[in-house]
């Protein structure tokens, strides 16, 4: 703990020297409250009147349970992606800062919950491979093939997917591929185009119009009001939506779990990025995760901080080849769903090989 206090102190000192104001968060809190009021209108998006400010999606599982989540409209606009040189904790891959134009889209107000991810899992988990050679499996496969709602699903998880957390905690330990597959399932289930946000969309939504370090301001002392991170998490994830939202009504953009985004990771990604709706490198090995998580120190909690799948994320999987679907024991990685409005906007499987 001592070293973290020392870090917090030094980071504060560094910001102090730059003369940044530490009370700006108060203003943003007021904005957040106003935004929340504005976002109370419900109902599905209606193209004729322009998209609704928000809507609630309700999924009925095959066993008849209903699970709901809320999507808010992220307005289109332009922002400066990346961090300025000299921002405390900055890494080289956060630059160069560049202007990016983002079309409007919807983003889930919370990280995907265990409850919703379990619904997906129970509906789609594949029969044991052993069974695929049998007559019954062929019949089952035909049934699945004729069912428009059916999506392919993950292999059975090793152990317990919830890792002991309750259903309103964020879903965890899925690979990027599994998160993408969830979005396809959700799309088939609802008729809407759910997908992962792109890295640019994610940062744009996290900043919510602000140009400061954390979106709510520059003062790390305020982080605990908005985020679960190393200092206040008690070493575990927390129920989604328990902290303050950012200015656009989004919970836990920083902290709790890191969130998969659509893009492949490259430290050079910003050098020649598209300036409108960028979707990252077309090839790569690992994907980007954003926002920091309950284990993260302050410097990884910045809007611009980037992380990506490291080899250690697979170390809880004792097998080779590693599971395409699961990152056993990795309870710090999750995601939230986005939804396209513009039919020409990025689709879940565009671009990447």
């Amino acid at each position: 703990m001592l070293s973290w206090n020392r870090f917090a102190y030094s980071i504060k000192k560094a910001w102090g020297k730059q003369g940044l104001k530490v009370n700006r968060g108060v203003k943003h809190l007021a904005l957040a409250v106003l935004s929340l009021i504005a976002f109370q209108c419900r109902g599905a998006p209606d193209e004729a009147r322009g998209p609704a400010k928000s809507y609630t999606e309700t999924v009925t599982t095959k066993s008849g349970e209903k699970v709901s989540f809320k999507m808010v409209l992220v307005p289109g606009g332009t922002f400066l992606m990346g961090s300025p040189e000299g921002e405390p904790g900055r890494k080289d891959d956060e630059g160069p800062q560049h202007k990016v134009r983002i079309d409007q889209f919807y983003l889930c107000t919370t990280e995907t919950t265990i409850e919703l991810f379990l619904a997906y899992y129970h509906e789609t988990v594949s029969a044991k491979k052993d069974f695929t050679e049998t007559e019954q499996a062929k019949k089952e496969a035909e049934l699945v093939a004729n069912d428009v709602d059916a999506a392919t699903g993950p292999t059975p998880v090793y152990g317990d997917m919830t890792m002991g957390y309750g259903k309103t905690h964020p879903a965890i330990g899925m690979t990027w591929h599994n998160a993408m597959n969830f979005c396809e399932w959700l799309s088939k289930k609802t008729g809407r185009k759910y997908r992962l946000p792109t890295e640019a969309e994610w940062e744009y939504a996290c900043r919510a119009g602000a140009t400061n370090v954390f979106g709510f301001g520059n003062d790390p002392n305020q982080l605990a009001e908005f985020a679960w991170y190393k200092t206040n998490s008690d070493g575990e994830t927390h129920e989604v939506g328990k902290k303050k939202t950012n200015a656009w009504g989004l919970y836990d953009m920083l902290g709790n779990v890191s969130e998969w985004v659509y893009d492949f990771y490259s430290p050079q990604a910003y050098k020649d990025a598209a300036n409108t709706n960028p979707r990252g490198p077309t090839t790569g090995k690992v994907h980007v995760a954003r926002g920091g998580d309950y284990t993260s120190p302050i410097e990884d909690m910045r809007c611009a901080a980037r992380t990506f799948e490291e080899e250690g994320w697979r170390s809880g999987d004792p097998q080779i080849p590693k599971s395409k679907w699961w990152l056993p024991g990795m309870d710090f990685i999750g995601f939230r769903a986005a939804m396209s409005i513009d039919p020409n906007a990025v689709k879940p499987n565009d671009g990447q090989k």
Binding site: H122, T134, G235, T295, G316, P318, Q319, I320, G329
Partner: protein, 454 residues
């Protein structure tokens, strides 16, 4: 030394026994010449059993950073398994990959050929289904080769009796033997044990373990293009002779870690279980098991296993003492996130201690420890405790499958040996288990078959 009596074991005796085992090993080390300690020597590895876990173990072995180590041979009964290991491990560890075409072996005798590529003091990874463990271990001991073997290492009483003798021989030859109960190498669990032994939660009066998840270890009927024997080897979790079944394969870790924390092995088991949702699957497993293990001092380990999709899932173990409680496993094997509490509600306010995060992977640590012991020539032999962990797993399974209370001595001296001639199997052998006229394999019948599991 291998017999467990009903005699009460105090903490002092626990410590004393641990010391005695260490002393025996140290003595053995003193009389046997050093075989393989020089750090400039390259350790050669052979992988016997090229499934996902075998590959994972080989990769962990090749990731040990204390001197040169390379993979020289692969063996499996399935050619496609050898091919996928070859590709996967070559891609990942190109610089340490030295498997030539003539050191890829397919067949039930592949283990001999693979070990023939090694010298005394090298390491063989035994990661086939457990049924073959004693066969392969016998040859490794004969050749003076150090061993890493996946758990479980025995499947029933008779194979355990064989194994305990082999374990003694391997100690006499000062072989270094690692058993894939990797939780024993988790630094957090090791510190938790120290804290329990120092009395932080008092004397342990109860342990609990849970392994509850979706459907698992099921198997459909044999496809036409495959021999009965190879089908059963490939679906080893489904057949008791090959693996000890899902019970042994899934539950051994937590039964072992709880007993480790307790400082004793259970002396009897009382269990229930049944098959509800197996459908047209033909495997021999139950869907659920509830087991009460009794330790020599009368305290219990309650173990709950369930494989039913849609039910509450859990993968955790706990110790309860006279002064407090401990989390031994939070969820899955790693990270353990072990911690201790005052009282038994395990609430944050009552936290005494928690192992700092993040943790190292125990799958890597078990290899770091083994290779270090080989290079430093330190006593290191987990074969006996691995065999006993496997036996007490069989004890609980047998209790559920027969519907009887089964003691340690009963399971150890049990007459039913699932596959006595497993050392003689060839590609054309009949399978150790035969299906009935309806195409189904025999399953346990608690209360009807009381001495045998099927």
């Amino acid at each position: 030394m291998n017999e467990i009596t009903r005699k009460k074991t105090s903490r002092r005796e626990f410590l004393k026994n641990t010391g005695r085992i260490a002393a025996t090993s140290a003595l053995a080390a003193a009389v046997v010449p050093r075989i393989y300690a020089a750090e400039n020597n390259t350790i050669k590895l052979a992988l016997v059993g090229c499934g996902g876990r075998g590959n994972g173990a080989a990769s962990n072995a090749l990731s040990v950073k204390n001197g040169p180590i390379k993979l020289v041979a692969l063996a499996d009964v399935f050619e496609n398994r050898v091919a996928s290991s070859y590709k996967g491990l070559k891609d990942k560890h190109a610089a340490q990959f030295d498997v030539s075409e003539d050191r890829k072996f397919v067949g039930f005798d592949g283990y001999r050929k693979a070990m023939d590529c090694l010298n005394a003091g090298d390491v063989v990874i035994l990661a086939t289904p457990p049924a073959f463990r004693w066969v392969h271990f016998t040859y490794a001991i004969e050749k003076g080769i150090n061993v890493f073997m996946e758990k479980p290492i025995t499947v029933d009483g008779p194979s355990t009796r064989k194994f305990l003798k082999l374990a003694e021989e391997s100690v006499k030859k000062d072989l270094k033997v690692g058993v894939g109960l990797m939780v024993r190498h988790c630094r957090g669990r090791q510190q938790l044990l120290d804290r329990i032994k120092s009395g932080e939660i008092g004397d342990i009066v109860m342990l609990r373990g849970y392994r509850m998840g979706g459907q698992a270890a099921t198997t459909g009927p044999k496809p036409d293009n495959m021999s009965e024997l190879l089908y059963q080897v490939q679906r080893f979790h489904s057949f008791l002779w090959a693996s000890g079944g899902m019970y042994s394969d899934y539950y051994i870790h937590q039964i072992d870690e709880c007993s480790w924390m307790k400082g004793a092995w259970p002396i009897e088991a009382h269990a229930t279980g049944g098959r509800h949702y197996r459908g047209n699957n033909v495997d021999q497993n139950f869907d659920n098991y509830s087991v009460e293990y009794t330790y020599p001092d009368g305290t219990k380990l309650l173990y709950y296993g369930r494989n039913m999709s849609g039910c509450y899932s859990a993968f955790s173990s706990y110790a309860h003492g006279t002064k407090g409680s401990a989390v031994i496993t939070t969820s899955s094997h790693t990270p353990g996130k072990v911690r201790t509490y005052k009282g038994h509600n395990m609430e944050k306010a009552d936290l005494i201690w928690a192992f700092p995060q993040p943790e190292q992977s125990p799958y890597q640590l078990e290899w770091d420890d083994l290779i270090d012991a080989i290079r430093q020539n330190k006593p290191y032999n987990e074969a006996e405790r691995g065999a006993i962990a496997s036996l007490v797993s069989s004890m609980g399974r047998m209790a559920a499958h027969t519907g009887q209370i089964i003691t340690y001595d009963q399971v150890l001296n049990c007459e039913q040996e699932f596959a006595p001639d497993v050392d003689k199997l060839t590609m054309s052998s009949p399978a150790p288990l035969q299906a009935g006229p309806d195409g189904k394999y025999p399953v346990p019948q608690p209360g009807i078959l009381k001495q045998r599991e099927y």
